[in-house]
Subunit: 208 residues, 2 copies
């Protein structure tokens, strides 16, 4: 998931291991010792990187939250409402699929929910879900539109992390989720198999 | 929520109280003693009705699971696919809204998830979510259709229990959720404000 550089290798492996253990045992059911054992290092080596399990959970969730933040900012920079929605949907689905293991955990584990909901606030001092809803539903949407967008938004997030689809490869899941989201929100479909949506900005931004 | 008869009054009050406490403290964070205190009875009085907290959680969730089961059976009895889908959607939304406090708990608390997922299996030995998906998406749906229906299904359940809409009255929430679900799944809308969908069968079945 987090393809770390050589310098960050241990930290990166630690986060990958923590996510896998969280997925099996829940955040509450995973100890620093279990993470150390699974990595084959001492607990002191884990402590070198993180002081608490909450810090690990935050670091596990941070890339997805940052990527969502960038998707929203890039979407908001688009000129037309249609382009904003298209960009937000494609980017949202991209992040969901790239972090599907984390999503599955988020959808079922209050330990990670607590942490993510806290970091959700972080990047720009505003709730990331509220900002994503603002891009997708527009300013002052009717209650009907807000509920429709909310259903699609939460549905995509739930299904993206659903164990039922764990066996489906990323590309297939991404395409189907995006098709479903676009269809459900009344966005026109691509003209044919060669037509691809533009890559979400997070792929093109330097430093990601 | 559960309008008990006089005979079942204590049991019914106990379940209402338990649901409220579960919603505030989580299932794990609620003790039998807390339920007794809130009810103003002794712990022995609680024990008279339920031996464990899991039994209480099961009893809290049971009416919604039974109602969903009846919705599915009644939907399956309809002749056309369209009528089956319409019945299943209307009934699903009805159950979701009637049990929105339970849904909100289910969406955020693994304690109640564990219990409900177990009782979900109960009524006919089959997973209720799978059976609802079968009615909504049909037999052997394409992956695209399965994912679309799954997005709408989980989205409706999440939004129905979402704290964001806690201030909206039941009728308004029900109408908007149903409109959204029908629109998202391509079902025709009612012809006007006077046009109402048929009441879900669970309202008409004897013994409910």
């Amino acid at each position: 998931m987090t393809a770390g550089t050589a310098a960050n290798d241990t930290r990166s492996r630690l986060l990958d291991t923590a996510l896998k253990l969280f997925s099996v045992h829940g955040v509450e059911g995973t100890s620093l010792q279990m993470i150390a054992d699974e990595l084959g290092v001492t607990k002191a080596a884990v402590y070198y990187h993180f002081k608490t399990k909450d810090e690990i959970a935050e670091a596990v969730a941070a890339p997805a939250v940052q990527e969502l933040d960038q998707v929203i900012e890039a979407a908001r920079a688009r000129r037309t409402r249609g382009a904003q929605i298209d960009h937000a949907l494609a980017g949202f689905v991209e992040v969901i699929v790239r972090h599907r293991l984390l999503l599955g955990l988020y959808n079922s584990d209050p330990g990670i929910q607590r942490v993510i909901n806290r970091t959700f606030q972080a990047p720009r001092g505003e709730d990331i879900k509220t900002r994503m809803m603002l891009v997708l539903a527009g300013k002052d949407p009717s209650l009907a539109d807000a509920i429709t967008v909310h259903v699609v938004f939460t549905g995509i997030a739930m299904v993206g992390g659903a164990p039922e689809y764990a066996g489906i490869d990323d590309d297939t899941l991404r395409q189907h989720l995006l098709d479903a989201a676009r269809r459900l929100l009344g966005r026109p479909r691509g003209k044919g198999p060669g037509k691809r949506l533009p890559e979400p900005a997070l792929r093109r931004s330097p430093g990601v």
